[in-house]
């Protein structure tokens, strides 16, 4: 039989990415979309778009989902593997840069550092209570300055004299930046100052105490920003490797994980519901359970007004009920995400 293809889906807070790889783990198709706070819609339009991309109709042999919306994506399209984004990113980076020892990943709402040794994740950190060192921070400040985010990085490279901006907290940074604007600093210098502030924040908070060794891979949506990459290289005095598909590394990792699963089990049949799944109508509803003092916020996912999944309850009262009802629908309880 001819080799099939694998689909990786990364539903993040800022972007929803889809990747199709072939049996050689090469990216055949990729898609980067803005989630815009509506993961269901983003995923549906992504599925439609990637199915309609030029090329023959591909047979999907495995599906992996990742990102903060991974469980949602898995019930909507039928996934074989639901993996956290840290593991997915690490697997993708190792594929692209064998022997990678440090991964700097900056996404929309979170940033991570992953340390690998001997091909295994050795240590990692993810920003905790604050979004100061992330893409959202840059997005917001770029909007304030009236600079399109795509031009932000190249503008920073034009800076001639450094401007120091506090990067500890997005609120402080903003007032600091306004102050610098008012005193007459050029936009280039301020933009560069923001890049350096983000890098400083990242290295002081996330990477604190971590041994950053080469090769260093820089990925995530923010890796497109040449200003940030340059600021990292200056601060670390190390060369950064930016993969060609840096913006969809999570989805790539998920696809590779799905491929691994297929390869390691003999007569494996994918749970994929097909690209047609995107033609259904999906809705999410939530309610507060009043059965005990936990007062869980239960989320219900409906497909063509049929409940396909529920989660959010700690006791399993609702999720188990939903799962029993759709036992024929190919939905697998998302045990790994701790949602039962």
């Amino acid at each position: 039989m001819e080799n099939g293809y694998y689909l990786g889906v990364d539903v993040g807070s800022v972007s929803t990415n889809l990747v199709i790889i072939d049996d050689e783990k090469k990216i055949i198709k990729k898609l980067y979309l803005r989630t815009g706070g509506q993961p269901i819609n983003a995923l549906i339009s992504g599925m439609k778009e990637i199915a309609g991309l030029p090329g023959e109709k591909l047979r999907i042999d495995g599906v992996g989902t990742t990102g903060s919306g991974r469980v949602l994506a898995s019930v909507m399209i039928g996934a074989d593997e639901v993996k956290n984004e840290i593991t997915s990113h690490a697997i993708a980076a190792q594929q692209v840069v064998p022997g990678v020892r440090t991964i700097i990943e900056i996404g929309g709402q979170d940033s991570k550092i992953i340390i690998l040794r001997n091909g295994v994740v050795y240590d990692f950190a993810m920003n905790t209570v604050c979004a100061a060192g992330t893409g959202s921070f840059l997005d917001r400040q770029a909007a304030r300055l009236g600079v399109p985010i795509e031009e932000f990085g190249s503008l920073a490279l034009k800076s001639t004299s450094p401007v120091r901006i506090a990067g500890r907290c997005a609120v402080f940074a903003e007032s600091d930046m306004i102050h610098k604007q008012q005193t007459g600093h050029s936009t280039e210098d301020i933009v560069n100052g923001l890049c350096e502030a983000l890098v400083r924040n990242y290295l002081n908070n996330l990477a604190k105490g971590k041994d950053i060794r080469e090769p260093v891979v820089f990925q995530g949506g923010v890796a497109a920003n040449v200003g940030i990459a340059a600021a990292f290289e200056r601060a670390l005095e190390k060369k950064l490797l930016i993969p060609e598909h840096h913006d969809v590394m999570g989805a790539l990792g998920a696809a590779i994980i799905a491929r691994q699963k297929k390869k390691s089990s003999g007569n494996f049949v994918s749970a994929f519901l097909g690209f047609e799944a995107a033609n259904r109508e999906y809705k999410a509803k939530s309610f507060e359970c009043s059965n005990c003092s936990n007062m869980c916020e239960v989320i219900e996912i409906l497909s063509d007004s049929r409940i396909i999944a529920r989660w959010g309850d700690r006791c399993g009262r609702w999720s188990q009920q939903a799962n029993a009802r759709v036992s024929d629908g190919g939905f697998k309880p998302a045990l790994e995400a701790g949602c039962t």
Partner: protein, 369 residues
Amino acid sequence: MKITFPHLGNTYICVKALLDDLGVQYVIPPFNNKKGLELGTKYVPEMACLPLKINIGNYIQAYRQGADTILMAGGCGPCRFGYYCEMHREIMRDIGYEMDIITLEMINGNVSELFANIKKLAGGTSPLNAVIATIRMIKIAKQVDEIEMLAFKIRPREKIKGSTDDIYKDFRNKVFLEKGCRRILALISRTREELLGIDTDKSFQPLKIGIVGEIYTTIEHSSSFDIQNRLGNMGVEVDRQVTVSGWIIEHILKKAFHLPRKLEYAKEAKPYLATMIGGHAQETLGHTVLYSKKGYDGVIQIFPLSCMPEIVAESILPKVQVDFGIPVLTLIIDEMTGEAGYLTRVEAFIDLLKKRREQRNDLIIKPAF
């Protein structure tokens, strides 16, 4: 006098048993939930730590059910907890809910004040009765902790998922139907039997994770999104050395009677943090070393945002990680109820530990030349 007290894991079981035997009226606040937290955050300074916010939520709910006196433990270490009883009093007064507070504490090892407070609590009962009830309460505290630890061991090994949770939850609810130490002790032994009766996979070798960190967020599962039990359901055996009974016995009783204390953790923490800086910083460091020596796969540190002693421990832990090669994940808890970010980290941490164990096993089977 109608007593109430803050929730802290299974402490309500011990305190309920004690107050039952002393014949004191009491109100147990509803188990911690969003409503209580909302009430607490409304009245507590924003910069205060999460436990204080939950405590105040408990008191407000209990006051509305008729409680007029708060019973709580005190401390005089450098952690903010030492002045929480005064904070509680002042905040409740500001809200307009005047409540009396009985604090069980020993300032500078002064035992007489502790006994005076116990006497105040005991009211009409004879001193002998009070002593017997207290001894029984300590026994209950110990056994309740043992039940929790037993559940930690059984949960990852159970054949039918959810069996442990069902029995454990049932136990926590049934306590309300039992009155007095004797009956509660009987309930505990019945529960122990039930837990031991669960069908388990004896050959399964679960990952082992030690839980360290600040006492409230590690013991009160609701404040740390039930992570310890969830780890169990993900097939991980957890252990936690900081317990309520340990605190009563080691920090109060042994100090009061000048008995030698179990300080193994302090010895192990010494190269990293030689003095007690408050809270459980030394415990966090010392237990991390001990877990590593006992062959645990990893350690998770949990503490509420802005907890000084644990911040100190957190910044020293990377050194322990390097020296002993044990992975540590730090989770900082605040008012956020969104759990996705935490679960992502915990999941990735488990992946990391699994891979490390595989690699270690590979090395044992075929040594790398």
